[in-house]
Amino acid sequence: MSRSLTFRIFRYDPQLPGDAPKMVDYQLDETPGMTVFIALNRLRAEQDPSLQFDFVCRAGICGSCAMVINGLPTLACRTLTAKYSDAVITLMPLPGFELIGDLSVNTGKFMRELAERLKLWLHPKAQQADIHHLEQPMEPEEAAKLYELERCVECGVCVSACATAQMRDTFVGAVGMMKIARFELDSRDARTADDFYHVIGTQDGVFGCMTLLGCQDNCPKDLPHMQQIAYLRRKMAGTLIASSKV
């Protein structure tokens, strides 16, 4: 016999005049292999069509369905309801992002602003910018390292899980540092180490990180944030202190 689950969901539509934030309870019978994402879809289809939440891929690849589930920011599509023995599941929107409504937040706006601020795209070397020339082949080892850092799905969990990012709007967070590390590693990128240090060798970057490790503990893609940030900190501290620039 299946359990009856209680979903305690944050409801608030900022677009609706007079609406106030509240928690609303929904009951749903659990089915085998049910994820929070499946449950939300059923709730919207069967009980409340006004419920707002994001999803695209349903497979932990797009990063759209991130939310706070029983106090842990994670992806709804990768969270089985069976793991909650008390049958009560509390859902909150990711903090630190613009609220669209209910569980839906605008991580896209945040990620775009971050990308523009940190210039998170490939800056090709002069000869590689010419489309009439063949691209230089990349060593498989380098490609594998890049792929490891490229796995970030920009779900926003690391930003929501980081108290530093919540307290300081200008802090780039683990996602910013991870992406900088990714482009620094890329041999096709024309930027020098100095250019990258300029971007994150500050209080808003690696030296603003307080090692609270919310990013490391909650990243749904298990990216090595702790090791990556420690590496950047050591590398930047050594280079910057030795340099004569102020």
């Binding site: 307290m167 500050t202 030296f207 900190r233 910057l240």
Partner: protein
């Protein structure tokens, strides 16, 4: 592109100057490491009172440089000099650690909301590290200034300070604050610079050390209180 600030003839450097961000981070970690390791030694030295008055007397004499003086008692000038040095280290640590404090009400609100919404052990531990750090802005100078102005150390003189001068009030607050702050700080330091990534083991070690040092500190404070309560003023120094 960042703009340089200029006042009068002197350049003040870039806002968020990169090199100084790095230096501040290294100074905070370095001063924290010195203070944390010193605390481990300090609590063991002062707890030698648990082995008897004579044991503490010998430890104090050695640390005051007794080997280098003809009387064998050493000099309290060494205590004063070392206390001044430690005060300077504390000042460097406090100045650089201030960067981490939530300075505005909005930041406190964000931290409170975060702690209510997100269940994360390391953030909670950092919160207590910060609160105990704040308390020590007041408690550590009280202890160090006393050791600079009144540096006599000995089984009777130290016990008199604890009992007759009511310094137990400072120590009963300082002990948990400094032990929690220092052990969590050392744990975070190891992860921050990548010295060791075995988090579960390190965190367990930090918690065990917190418990052990609290018991050790409380036992020795009780010993000083018991010795102090048995002393009559004016207090005569202990001679074995």
């Amino acid at each position: 592109m960042l703009t340089k600030y200029r006042i009068g003839e002197g350049w003040l450097g870039y806002p968020q100057s990169h090199r100084w961000s790095a230096i501040a981070d290294v100074l905070q970690s370095g001063s924290g490491l010195i203070l944390g390791l010193f605390l481990l030694a300090h609590l063991h030295f002062e707890s030698s009172i648990l082995l008897g008055k004579a044991a503490f007397y010998r430890v104090a004499n050695v640390l005051e440089g007794g080997w280098f003086t003809s009387s064998g008692h050493g000099s309290s000038l060494l205590t004063q000099t070392f206390s001044v040095f430690m005060l300077l280290v504390v000042m460097v640590h406090a100045a650089t650690a201030l960067r981490r404090f939530p300075a505005q009400r909005r930041q406190w609100q964000a931290l409170r909301n975060h702690n209510l919404l997100i269940n994360h052990q390391d953030t909670r531990l950092w919160f207590w590290q910060m609160v105990t750090g704040f308390l020590m802005f007041f408690l550590v100078p009280m202890h160090l200034v006393t050791m600079i102005t009144n540096p006599e150390i000995g089984p009777h003189l130290s016990a008199a300070r604890v009992w007759h001068d009511n310094y137990w009030l400072v120590y009963i607050l300082l002990l948990p604050a400094v032990v929690i702050h220092a052990m969590l700080g050392l744990y975070r330091l190891a992860l921050k610079w990548g010295v060791n990534f075995h988090r579960d083991g390190l965190r367990l070690l930090a918690k065990i050390l917190i418990g052990y040092l609290l018991v050790l500190g409380l036992c020795s404070l009780t010993a000083y209180l018991l010795i102090g309560s048995g002393l009559t003023t004016p207090v005569t120094p202990f001679i074995p």
